[in-house]
Amino acid sequence: MRTVAVILAVLTGLIVLLGYFFPVLSGVQTVVLSWTIILAGTATVVGVFSLILVHFNKVTRREKGSVYSVLLLMALFVTFIFGITLGPDDPNMQLLVNAIIVPVESTLMALLAVTLLYAGVRLLRRRTDLMSVIFLLTAAFMLFASATLPFGEISLLNNWIRPWVQQVLALGGARGILIGVALGTLTTGLRILFGADRPYGGK
């Protein structure tokens, strides 16, 4: 099974990769990519099944907090049944999204504002070095420069220094991060295609 998995990973990966450079392989590449889309959709369903199993086990074992798992399962099955029968694009499903999903996630993101501010306050207590100071000063400056004042904005600050910091001073680091990420992606992808890394379970 492991050998088959490695062969499949390398073979399909090479087909798709070569399709970038050889248009002859674009047809096969498209077929493989369509398979991948189907598999990704199946993987989503598998993930939901796994979630169901985990919480179902918690309920059957009567573990601590199993009441919450019951709520989760009930919400999941109701939503899934309605989603299957009505369709996700149904207006009633839209109401469900607006009533639960968006408010909860947005509120969780709103809590992040408090947490980030709290972390920024306590940063210098934990760590006092040049990088921390520069980090905090830059953040404070960007926050201040992104806002306007009641009496108007500070043109030099808002229209010149802030864009320069964002597009020049911070751009170098951002580009370095992006290039680093790309290099890491390249290395990891090649290791997978060479069979050195097998994150799919082929060990």
Binding site: I134, A139, L171
Partner: protein, 220 residues
């Protein structure tokens, strides 16, 4: 009671329950989170089934041509194997399907990283010093030097090759260490900007929630 009112009431209720976490962890917060996870998972599963599997796999298998069916035999088999991942005793059978997913994604990521990030970003870093396209050569050189310094020093900062010194400590080469120090400063600028952006986004989300409160109670 109109649907909008029900939706608004539920949204208000769940928002309040989540905000209760500011006081501390409490059952209301847990109820809201668990229900949210359940609804999200059910919704995602329904979307995946209705908008992915049904139009791309099941419909063509039923209504498609012979060629379509033949082409879909492989993803059908792989999908069946992938479903075994949900059951631990047979989870190994899903490995080939995962291998296809990972292999294709790795290949696509390689192509995108090379053609979409590496070459364009390296090219634009070099082209910053092309004075022919710049209206202000001094500014272009100045900005270009800053950006180049930021790119190089940041990349050096993430170079963790080191050697063991005489006293047993592990240190990078002296020049590398100095360049990495410069890179850390550039990174501090970048991360400071990112922190400000994240806080701005969170603050906007907070404002949006508060604005919802206002509109729900007729204040907004």
């Amino acid at each position: 009671m109109s649907p909008d009112l029900i939706v608004g009431a539920l949204a208000f209720l769940f928002t309040l329950m989540i905000f209760s976490y500011l006081i501390g962890d409490n059952p209301l917060f847990r109820v809201a989170v668990y229900v949210f996870v359940g609804v999200s998972a059910g919704y995602v599963a329904a979307v995946a089934f209705r908008q992915v599997l049904l139009p791309n796999l099941l419909y063509p298998l039923v209504n498609g041509t012979t060629t379509q069916r033949a082409l879909l035999a492989t993803p059908l088999l792989l999908s069946g194997l992938l479903l075994m991942k949900a059951w631990a005793p047979l989870s190994r059978l899903g490995t080939p399907s995962m291998a296809v997913l990972v292999g294709v994604s790795a290949a696509v990521a390689i192509g995108g990283a090379v053609t979409g990030t590496l070459l364009p970003q390296i090219g634009v870093t070099i082209n910053m010093f092309d004075l022919r396209t710049s209206t202000s050569p001094f500014t272009a050189l100045f900005n270009g030097a800053f950006i180049l310094a930021g790119v190089v020093t940041t990349l050096v900062y993430f170079h963790f090759g080191a050697r063991t010194t005489a006293d047993g400590s592990v240190r990078r080469f002296g020049l590398i260490e100095f360049i990495a120090f410069i890179g850390s400063i550039f990174l501090a600028f970048t991360l400071g900007v990112l922190f400000a952006g994240v806080y701005s986004a969170a603050l906007t989300a907070l404002i949006e929630r508060l604005y919802f409160f206002g509109t729900f109670f007729g204040l907004g």
